[in-house]
Symmetry: C2
Subunit: 347 residues, 2 copies
């Protein structure tokens, strides 16, 4: 049998990486992954899916999907690039522009993971005490390291707040690189986001996703930017990256008013959750503009385990936010179960 | 308004690339893209799709899908990595191992396209006069350039033949890099392929896809290799790369005997097509082990246009095989329409 030396073959930057691992943890109430509690109508899905000729390749340009997305975001199809989830669009951005890649921390982990998978330098700048961008430090690092890409998740995961618009604008105006404002959680926010500013800033890229608003199963995300940026990133996109089922169902969902009423329910439940959590002794929830609530507890591991014992799965942020747990907003019934369990744990 | 210099921002290797373009050409009989003429049962699809909770993320490890694929290919789940089509797996292989990337030409265009998108050197070695690997020249280049990856599509697209097993083996034995035998068209071949040799060669990787056997719409491909290779490539895989619909439908289809009877129909129709084409004056078809037939004509552009005028779309290979067209095997009815049209054009 032939022997090979994989250590010599694998790209050195990849050798030390660990694969993403997401164990399935059995639970009754799943509030760990910032998913929407509301699935898309299964009868509509069945009808759309049955109409797909599985033997034909998808539309490589996702024309109908981009048209529907353009309509929703108030831009032209030319401003939109479709992705197999935002994850894939992060991959493409880094493939097209290279690093260094800068982002504040804590934030969505994939900016760093994908930078490293592609062998690019990632630079993590800690947030300030208010979970906002540390502007002075960020601008200093931007000047010194000249990042090609800066990822700003606003509202930010896992902190839940929007970054100050003025600070984001200052970075967009100062940096010679591309600023990606990841608006995955924007639909739950009271702020208006950065879409209206696209025309003024050719180095501004906005990311949106359907994963938080009821369609995580589909893997559909969008880049929204100046057509000249879209054209460059499109050069490294795989032709058939969004499959026919995702294209058809996402197109229908984007036109569906049900999506918006689900979002309103989640926002109102998030506000109820926050207020109720704030009343529990030993629990300190942080205000949220997203579909989850970050909260501090005295003993996060004990609380996490106690909740799980009662069938409620939340996220333990031991790696990124010591002392904190994150709970996704569920249905009213799920939130009530969570609140009851949390009260019992806190006693 | 802010100005940016995109030329300075985009990775130099990406700057000169052109995006993949696949125009939709209206036709009655679509025989241009090596798709199967047989779609998967729409009632089964509707049932599977309706059961999916769209709000939940897909299984990041595609466990059921990999189990079903393992069963079909006679290997363990540990030997399998799932991709959003083989295209994505090519991306991941190059991200994990880097270049140089070697392949014979003409062949599947994505090996070169993705190498260039990732900024890696690609080396194209011309096939010999029999459309087989030019072994002497290939081994010379392997010795000199030490490619990290060698892609061998067998049966090869667009030539339709299998490469000589002895030559492939010689390359596997000689090279210190990874040899990827892309068996996208293997289900249509009379040869047994390279799966039985996996155990002997830790640097052998096999690619399989569902795109040619009725499920192009789903985007599902597989890497099959030694678990230590799978583990390395898995480090650069996006966690949710195969969506829930593709996982569920592909899992069901892999277990379905209908898939195999469709393949048998295609093989028997391919043989009929070949014999009938060989009888037409001015048409020289090449023997095929795939689901398409390559053929030489005196004036490929004129023949292509004449066929299209009759509603039949084939592939003009002007870029890769001057003087040749490629026709995908359709249903018996579609093939009869094609043969009739071809006879009329050839007169």
């Amino acid at each position: 049998m032939k022997k090979i030396d994989l250590g010599k073959l694998v790209r050195p930057s990849v050798c030390g990486l660990r694969a993403y691992s997401a164990k399935e943890i059995p639970c009754k109430v799943k509030l760990d992954a910032n998913e929407s509690p509301y699935a898309y109508d299964s009868r509509k899905i069945a009808k759309l899916a049955a109409a797909i000729r599985t033997n034909r390749y998808p539309d490589p340009e996702s024309r109908e999907l981009r048209k529907a997305a353009g309509k929703r975001f108030g831009v032209s199809s030319e401003n939109i690039l479709q992705g197999n989830g935002s994850d894939e669009l992060i991959y493409y951005l880094i493939a097209a522009f290279s690093g260094p890649v800068l982002f504040p921390v804590p934030t969505f982990s994939m900016y760093g993971i994908i930078s490293r998978a592609l062998g690019e330098t990632d630079i993590a700048v800690p947030l300030d005490g208010e979970f906002d961008i540390d502007l002075e430090r960020t601008l200093r690092v931007v000047k010194k390291e000249k990042p090609k890409l800066i990822f700003l998740s606003s509202p930010n995961n896992p902190t839940g707040n929007c970054f100050s618009s003025e600070r984001i604008l200052k970075i967009i105006e100062t940096s010679k690189g591309i600023i990606v404002v990841d608006e995955a959680y924007q639909p739950f926010s009271s702020e208006k986001g950065f879409l209206p500013l696209l025309k003024d800033y050719p180095n501004l890229v906005i990311m949106r996703t359907l994963s938080k608003i009821g369609l995580a199963a589909l893997r559909v995300g969008f880049l929204i930017a100046d057509p000249q940026i879209i054209r460059e990133v499109n050069k490294v996109r795989l032709p058939f990256n969004v499959n026919s089922f995702s294209q058809a169902i996402a197109t229908a969902a984007l036109k569906d008013r049900g999506l918006d009423s689900a979002i309103r329910n989640i926002v109102s439940e998030r506000n109820r959750l926050f207020l109720a959590m704030a009343k529990i002794d030993g629990i300190k929830p942080y205000p949220s503009e997203a579909n989850f609530v970050l909260f501090e507890v005295k003993d996060p591991v004990a609380t996490y385990n106690a909740l799980l014992k009662k069938g409620v799965l939340v996220r333990n942020l031991a790696d990124s936010m010591k002392g904190c747990l994150r709970v996704t907003v569920g249905t009213p019934e799920e939130n009530t179960v969570f609140l009851k369990a949390l009260k019992e744990c806190a006693i």
